[in-house]
């Protein structure tokens, strides 16, 4: 269709010449039919939509950092409004007078050049550097919490299924339902109030931050120990808040698999128990959990905003929270870009790798 139109207008317009060439190319190399390219394009499109919504939403928030900064300069230095205005505009690489749409085009244009811009409230600070500074801490805390919770949940859930209807199963079902029912921020507060303040197991004040002041970041025991110590409370919170749902999911899927014929046959084949538990029961029971895994990675990263505020853990969530507080539009945009990309790409990654775990859904050629 496109191709025929393009041919008809070939003489009259350059644009249709490009379109014609493009459609001829697509016929020759059907890239749009390639599954991987298509899901990748979908992912990019999703992120773009999130960024666009974020861009306009943050600017609808009450309060405007640029006016605040202009006012600061005006009162401190006593120069004319126009001078202050010019200085702010030049120092931000940003024109406050430009229409919202022009700002948006600039923003997207910069992004396409892989430039996330600079912070509004601390001029000159590149957002990419800020994110590189804060994100690793969160990845460390969320990642370890997540890993511990997933592995524990798998093991406990499987044992519940193996000993179902025993006292152990009933007790663990109760506990895991309770764990799932309490939201993560409540867990955070409970940890501070209970062991922290009431029982004095640790010094709440000293737990702030990501490592003890005075230490040099690097591969030395003191620093690593301190980093683990400071991350411990958020990690425990993430584990407590997510463990229950892993246990319950794993229990129900293991119970299903245990009734499957192939497990019965594997026992009749005289396979070693460990082989049956890992390769026959465990692997099949874990399949449905992998779909959940990618979704909850994004979810946990997002919930870090509140948890890190509670523990004053200077990670990515803390950074995003601060940026929102001072209406630092560009920083918020940068943080949301990271959040949504993590979410979208972890989902994409799960989709693409699921076939490695389950050969029945393996993508064979074009879909």
């Amino acid at each position: 269709m496109t191709s025929r139109n393009a041919d008809a207008q070939l003489d009259s317009s350059d644009v249709s010449g490009v379109a014609g060439a493009l459609s001829t190319l697509l016929v020759k190399y059907p890239l749009h039919k390639n599954y991987y390219l298509r899901v990748f394009a979908q992912a990019i499109l999703t992120i773009w939509a999130v960024l666009t919504v974020t861009f306009f939403l943050v600017r609808q928030m009450p309060g405007n950092p640029i006016d605040v900064l202009i006012e600061q300069i005006l009162t401190q230095e006593g120069i004319s409004y126009q001078e202050a205005y010019d200085r702010v505009a030049s120092s931000f690489n940003f024109d406050p007078d430009a229409s919202l749409f022009d700002q948006y085009l600039d923003y997207i244009g910069d992004l396409l050049r892989l430039d996330m811009g600079t912070s509004i409230t601390s001029p000159g600070t590149r957002i990419i550097d800020e994110i590189a500074r804060f994100l690793p801490w969160t990845l460390f805390a969320v990642g370890s919490g997540f890993l511990i919770s997933f592995v524990l949940g798998i093991i406990l859930g499987m044992s519940m299924a193996y000993y179902r209807d025993s006292a152990l199963d009933h007790a663990m079902s109760l506990i895991s339902s309770f764990f799932t029912g309490v939201p993560n921020y409540i867990w955070g507060l409970l940890i501070i109030i209970g062991p922290g303040i009431s029982w004095n197991w640790f010094d709440v004040g000293a737990a702030r931050g990501t490592y003890d002041p005075g230490l040099t970041p690097g591969l030395n025991a003191a620093f690593i120990g301190s980093a683990i110590e400071h991350a411990l409370l958020p990690i425990i919170t993430y584990v407590l808040a997510t463990l229950g749902s892993w246990m319950l999911s794993m229990k129900s899927s293991t119970t299903g698999v245990l009734n499957d014929d192939y497990v019965n046959v594997a026992e009749a084949r005289g396979l070693k128990d460990r082989r049956i538990i890992t390769a026959y029961v465990g692997r099949n029971a874990m399949l449905p959990l992998f779909a959940q895994l990618s979704i909850s990675i994004g979810f946990v990263l997002g919930s870090g905003v509140v948890i890190e505020e509670i523990f004053v853990y200077w990670g990515f969530g803390h950074y995003l929270f601060q940026a929102i507080t001072v209406r630092d539009y560009t920083s918020v945009q940068g943080a949301v870009l990271i959040l949504s990309s993590t979410f979208v790409f972890s989902n994409l990654f799960a989709d693409l790798t699921y076939g490695l775990l389950d050969p029945r859904v393996r993508i064979t050629g074009e879909k």
Partner: protein, 338 residues
């Protein structure tokens, strides 16, 4: 044909099994005894729920958790060593399973782990029983897959979902004899397969048995399959063996009204639909089975004696043992032209 004189590989004596349920004890198997000789093919025939599968599960000690063996013993012989199967330790049991006695379950559709290649599942089986050389496993597996008339290389490197139902069934048969077992139990080996595939499976089984010399116990309600495959047929009714004997005796000189009923409920080429009969009534409730002969409520020959006393599985009249008080009357009635 198998050798009548050789010592039995498997001897089941007086085996009784109950299932404990909320509604009471289900007497799934009562006082079952039989011998299985080297190379013999024994068919257990009977209706669904008659206890055929319970007997076979007991042989590989894979009864459900609520099952209790209340009496009897099962002795297994390999060369000169004799084992009491009901007294095996877990370790001995694991070694016994598949290496000595393999069971091809009903519904091979889901018998394979969906996430592992067939190759991996053959290797798992062999390695669990002490094989280490993957090349040797592969060679043996490919030979067996060839024997069941599959494309060995292709099937060996496939995932289960890439095989059709009949292919899976045949692959499972090949896997069943991988460790050269003395006994292969086949539970409804051809159910759920189309008629041509059934034919192929039967031929394959006959071939395999001729070449590998294992004994077969197969469970079926398909009498034509029994007629074709079995040396010996045992009729199971309400958890008891009510008649057992050489296949020809059972089919042409049956002594138990139930066996006879089963035979006449199958259409044959000579006797078409007009003589087809079904057995009236339905199998008894095994929680509270009828007193005396359990078949008497459905039996045309039943008398007072049948209500009171359970007939023994005795060899008194006719060519083989049967548990009925009125074998003479059954034989009499069959002499009359139908």
């Amino acid at each position: 044909m198998f050798d009548q004189q050789r010592e039995a590989v498997l001897r089941v004596e007086d085996l009784s099994i109950i299932y404990r349920t909320k509604r009471g004890d289900v007497k799934a198997t009562s006082r079952v005894s039989f011998d299985l000789r080297p190379g013999e093919a024994l068919a257990l025939i009977g209706e669904s729920g008659s206890g055929k599968t319970t007997i076979s599960l007991a042989l590989i000690r894979k009864l459900p958790k609520n099952a209790v063996v209340t009496s009897g013993n099962i002795t297994y012989r390999r060369d000169d060593s004799v084992q009491d199967l009901l007294k095996l330790s877990n370790r001995q049991l694991r070694a016994f399973r598949w290496k000595d006695c393999a069971m091809v379950f009903q519904g091979a559709q889901n018998a394979f782990n969906p996430v592992l290649k067939i190759r991996r599942q053959f290797e798992d089986t062999a390695q669990s029983h002490g094989w280490t050389d993957k090349t040797a496993i592969r060679e043996r597996a490919l030979n067996l897959l060839e024997l069941v008339r599959l494309d060995p290389e292709r099937v060996y490197d496939s995932y289960p979902h890439e095989l059709s139902g009949g292919m899976k069934q045949r692959t499972l048969l090949a896997l069943g004899v991988l460790l050269n077992p003395q006994i292969v139990i086949l539970d409804e080996p051809t159910t759920a397969l189309d008629i041509l595939t059934q034919r192929a499976i039967i031929d394959v089984l006959n071939d395999m048995q001729r070449q590998l010399h294992f004994s077969i116990i197969f469970i079926s309600h398909d009498l034509s399959l029994a007629a074709e495959m079995a040396d010996t047929v045992a009729t199971v009714y309400a958890g008891e063996i009510v008649e057992i004997g050489p296949v020809n005796d059972i089919f042409y000189r049956s002594l138990h009204p139930y066996t006879y009923g089963l035979l006449t409920s199958v259409p044959t080429l000579e006797h078409m639909q007009d003589h087809l009969q079904s057995i009236p009534g339905s199998p008894p409730n095994l929680i509270d089975p009828p007193a005396g002969c359990k078949f008497h409520p459905r039996c045309a020959f039943a008398t007072d004696a049948c209500h009171k006393d359970s007939p023994p599985l005795a060899l008194d009249i006719g060519t083989h043992p049967a548990a009925c008080w009125h074998k003479d009357r059954l034989l009499e009635s069959r002499k009359e032209p139908v």
